[in-house]
C-alpha cells in the first residue's frame, strides 16, 4: 500500500526538486526582507537614540563650558541672525514630562540639526525675546524629545535655561489673540511659527513673548503637525531657581 504511494513521487522527483528549491528561495527572501524591516524599525526607534544621546552629551558639555567661561553674552540678548546653525542655545525643561527631562535646544531645523536634539527655527525669536521662540522636535526617533507632546496640558510650564536666566513659559490660549494652546495643523501651516502666530502676515511685528513647539502627528506619521503654544510668564535671574522647577509639577 505504501509502496504504491511512494512510487509516483519518485517519478516526479526532478520536477519536485525544482519547485521545492524555488519555494525555498522565495521563503528565504521573504524572511530576509522581514528581518531587514524589523532591523530598520529597531534602528529608527532605538538606534537613533544612541546618536542623539551622544550628541546631547557633547552639546551639554559645550554649553556649560560657555556659561561658566563667563565670556559672551546671554543668548536672550543676541540678534536672531547671530547664532550659528548647530550650536546649543538653551536647555529645555518640561516638568510635566518628568524631573529628568531636559534637552539642549539646537539652532536649526535641518535633518542633521534635529538628529541632535530639538531644533530652533532659524530667524524666530530667541529665548526670552519678544516674538515666537519656535522649536521642532522628533516624536518617535532620535531620542524623541517631543514623544509625549500630547501629554502636555493647558497651564503646564516650559522652562528654558540660558546663561543667566530661567525663562518660564506657560501653555495657554494666548490672551487677546486667536492663538490656541494646542492645535493640529497641516505640514505646510508655517504661520504657527510666525512672530505673531496664526495670522497671515509673517512680517507683523510681535508684542508678546511666545514659544511654539511643532512635532509630527499622529505619532509614527507625518500627515499633520502637533503644535503647542505658550507665553512667557516668568524671568528668573540665576542663581535663583524658577518656581516651575522647584514646586512639584
Amino acid at each position: 500500500m505504501t509502496d504504491l504511494v511512494v512510487e509516483p513521487r519518485h517519478a516526479d522527483a526532478h520536477r519536485g526538486d525544482g519547485v521545492r528549491m524555488f519555494a525555498r528561495g522565495v521563503g528565504q527572501l521573504l524572511i530576509t526582507a522581514g528581518v531587514l524591516i524589523l532591523l530598520f524599525v529597531a534602528y529608527e526607534l532605538w538606534g537613533t537614540g544612541f546618536y542623539t544621546a551622544a550628541q546631547q552629551h557633547k552639546l551639554e558639555t559645550t554649553i556649560q563650558k560657555q556659561w561658566t567661561g563667563s565670556s559672551g553674552p546671554d543668548v536672550s540678548t543676541l540678534s536672531v541672525d547671530n547664532v550659528p546653525l548647530g550650536t546649543g542655545l538653551a536647555v529645555l525643561f518640561i516638568p510635566r514630562l518628568g524631573r529628568h527631562y531636559h534637552f539642549v535646544v539646537v539652532e536649526g531645523t535641518g535633518f542633521s540639526d534635529l538628529q541632535r536634539g530639538p531644533g530652533h527655527y532659524p530667524g524666530t525669536a530667541l529665548p526670552g525675546q519678544v516674538g515666537n521662540f519656535a522649536v521642532a522636535g522628533h516624536r518617535t526617533t532620535y531620542q524623541h524629545p517631543f514623544k509625549d507632546i500630547a501629554e502636555l496640558r493647558r497651564g503646564d510650564y516650559i522652562v528654558l535655561e540660558t546663561k543667566q536666566h530661567w525663562f518660564t513659559y506657560r501653555i495657554e490660549d494666548v490672551p487677546g489673540t486667536n492663538i490656541p494652546w494646542k492645535e493640529i495643523v497641516s505640514p505646510t501651516a508655517v504661520q504657527v511659527a510666525y512672530p505673531v502666530p496664526d495670522q497671515p502676515d509673517p512680517t507683523k511685528s510681535p508684542t508678546l513673548k511666545l514659544l511654539t513647539f511643532t512635532s509630527c502627528h499622529p505619532e509614527y506619521s507625518a500627515r499633520e503637525r502637533y503644535v503647542i503654544h505658550a507665553m512667557l510668564v516668568n524671568d528668573t535671574l540665576k542663581p535663583a531657581l524658577p518656581a516651575a522647577l522647584t514646586t512639584k509639577g
Binding site: 528561495g25 528565504q28 527572501l29 530576509t32 531587514l36 532591523l39 530598520f40 534602528y43 529608527e44 538606534g47 537613533t48 536672531v80 546653525l85 536649526g108 531645523t109 535641518g110 535633518f111 542633521s112 540639526d113 534635529l114 531644533g119 527655527y121 532659524p122 530667524g123 524666530t124 519656535a134 521642532a136 522636535g137 522628533h138 516624536r139 518617535t140 526617533t141 532620535y142 517631543f146 495643523v185 505640514p187 505646510t188 501651516a189 508655517v190 504657527v192 511659527a193 510666525y194 509673517p202 511643532t214 512635532s215 509630527c216 509614527y220 506619521s221 507625518a222 503637525r225 503644535v227
Partner: protein, 68 residues
C-alpha cells in the same frame, strides 16, 4: 542563498559558524552605518517641522527665508 553561502564558507562546522558570525556582523554594520541612515531620509515619519514645501525629503539647509 544561505545554503550556497554555507557551502562556500571554508573549514569545518565551527569555522563555518564563525564565518557566519563575521558575515552577519559585517552586514549589520553596513546596514546601521550606511543603509538605514540613507533609507530614513526617504521615509516620512521624521518630518516634524512646518515648511512651505510639501515633500518628504528633508532640506539639508535651514528653512528658507528665516521663517520656516
Amino acid at each position: 542563498m544561505y545554503v550556497w553561502i554555507w557551502r562556500r564558507l571554508p573549514g569545518g562546522v565551527p569555522a563555518k559558524l564563525f564565518g557566519c558570525l563575521i558575515l552577519l556582523f559585517a552586514v549589520l554594520v553596513l546596514l546601521f552605518k550606511f543603509g538605514f541612515p540613507w533609507l530614513e531620509k526617504h521615509v516620512p515619519f521624521n518630518d516634524v517641522t512646518v515648511d512651505q514645501r510639501v515633500t518628504t525629503t528633508p532640506s539639508p539647509s535651514p528653512s528658507p527665508s528665516g521663517s520656516p
